[in-house]
């Protein structure tokens, strides 16, 4: 019998693929079922954010930051606004700081719910997706009550907020906290500790600590590898130093540290911590005018500022250069998803093709954030 001729197969995954969380294209090189190389191809959602900002005034940039990482608009706004305020030297009122933290933590819960829901969907479990989106609607209702928008808010302004919160919002948020805590347990029972789900994710795509740190990976993806690094603790911004919460890391409760399951479970842990922060903040909101520090004309002096924050996806930073005019000279965004994606080739090699879907999902990437 003559020798069978084998050759490597190159296939495309995306840009139209249900599991690529947007329009990412992965060029996979396969040896049978085994992946030997993964090459991400970007640019299918390049919306020219950085170039665009040069034609906008400082407050006009805020809606475009919403559209960068659209699952996580509040945190994007906060990061940009903090950088702009640092440039302008504005001190915002206490009330604004508290409301910003509450909004950002609610947004973190909403973002993690999408991450968990779609990750279950990737694994073939459709039910958690429906449950997660049901709970996410409740968060969106809170946002809608405050600023009228469901997804892209333009809520956090340079120097303040677009609207003040109402007493009704406070009661509804407290109700949500009471409602949501048991739901996290339910989601965990439904998906996180599900035998089939653990089989699909435990021990898959192990990201070693040194690789993660060297590649600039951040957020839950980094903490899933056991590195205790959270900018809310390690480089405190806004008023996060006043709240008591834990930095969650994957410690190998199932599988091994750094695998897909540990990256996933950090998000479930973090939702609990976000609830804790909201609980502490919601009762202590001081009185004040949320627009008292909003400048009439945003025209910073020549200079530059860099602010990094902890978004649900990882380290989100904005670098602004001002030339003293009304428009920023240059805005650079450091997006967490882009850096997180860079390790996919390294940790996917040697796995089966179906595992690439799980590895990609565990990063919780958003293409608007990668391509900008």
């Amino acid at each position: 019998m003559s020798e069978l001729r084998t050759e490597e197969l190159t296939i495309n995954m995306g840009p139209q693929h249900p599991s690529t969380h947007g329009v990412l294209r992965l060029v996979l090189t396969l040896n049978g079922e085994i992946v030997t190389d993964v090459k991400p191809v970007l640019g299918y959602l390049h919306r020219c954010f950085e170039k665009h900002c040069e034609a906008m005034t400082y407050p006009q940039v805020v809606p475009y930051t919403d559209r960068m990482d659209y699952l996580n608009s509040m945190n994007n706004e906060l990061a940009y606004v903090l950088a702009a305020e640092k440039l302008l030297g504005i001190q915002v009122p206490e009330r604004v700081e508290y409301i910003r933290v509450i909004m950002c933590e609610l947004q973190r819960i909403a973002s993690h719910l999408v991450a968990i829901g779609t990750y279950g969907n990737d694994a073939g479990a459709f039910t958690p997706f429906l449950y997660c989106f049901m709970d996410r609607e409740k968060v969106l209702e809170l946002f809608e009550m405050v600023c009228g928008a469901r997804l892209l808010y333009n809520y956090i302004w340079v120097g303040g907020l677009s609207h003040d919160i109402t007493p009704e919002f406070v009661t509804k948020t407290k109700e949500f906290i009471k409602y949501f805590r048991p739901r996290i347990k339910q989601i965990n029972n439904l998906l996180s500790y599900n035998k089939i789900f653990i089989e699909r994710t435990a021990g898959i795509g192990v990201l070693p600590q040194d690789v993660a740190v060297n590649a600039g990976v951040s957020g839950p993806t980094l903490r899933g590898s056991g590195v205790k690094f959270d900018l809310r603790k390690d480089d405190k911004y806004s008023i996060y130093d006043r709240f008591d919460f834990d930095v969650c890391v994957g410690w190998g409760e199932r599988g091994v540290v750094g695998d897909c399951w540990n990256r996933y479970i950090v998000r479930a842990y973090e939702m609990e911590q976000s609830l804790r922060i909201i609980e502490q903040a919601i009762d202590n909101i001081p009185e004040g005018d949320v627009q008292s520090a909003v400048p009439k004309r945003v025209k910073p002096v020549v200079g530059e500022s860099y602010v990094r924050t902890e978004s649900p996806k990882g380290e989100l930073a904005y670098y602004i250069i001002s030339d003293g005019s009304l428009n920023p000279y240059r805005i650079k965004a450091r997006s967490p998803s882009f850096c997180n994606l860079s390790v996919i080739n390294q940790i996917s090699r040697g796995h089966m093709i179906a595992d690439v879907v799980m590895i990609l999902g565990s990063f919780d990437i958003v293409l608007g954030c990668i391509d900008r």
Binding site: P15, Q16, H17, P18, G22, V23, G43, Y44, L45, H46, R47, C48, K51, H52, A55, P63, Y64, R67, Y70, L71, V114, T118, F129, L130, Y131, F133, M134, R136, E137, L140, R150, L151, L152, L367, G368
Partner: protein
Amino acid sequence: MGILNKLDISVEQFESGNIIITSMDKLLNWSRLSSMWQMFFGLACCAIEMMATSASHYDLDRFGIIPRPSPRHVDIILISGTVTLKMATRIKRLYDEMPAPKYILSMGSCANCGGPYWEHGYHVLKGIDRVIPVDVYVPGCPPRPEALLEGLIKLQDKIRNQSLAKHTA
């Protein structure tokens, strides 16, 4: 039979049942508009609202809209988000791969006309209708789920009134 009556199809009923007399157009249109399978395909921010619409709160399933991953299975494609020049060629190809009759719903300002990226977006297509024909435009940035549902009902109306004689597939 209850469903048929509700969908405003004039049927003649016989005493023995099981026999319906209706026009071919009405039967075809009714079956088409009641099971519009949708391409499982999201582009940008609007895709999140599309997902929220198809999840339990708004429930697209009750309109017979089920997401399918392959363009060869689908009847409608929701262009949900910003179309870049790089993506436009792929969307054209996906459209060509769909079997007729096929319908396009352009969701959100970006897909309608370029949206907030209209003026300075050097890499953004100024409206998906420059590449493929669009049946229904849903404005908004992003449109609320209710707006998307309204757009889909409008598309159903459009399908309900089409004729086989004019529309040779």
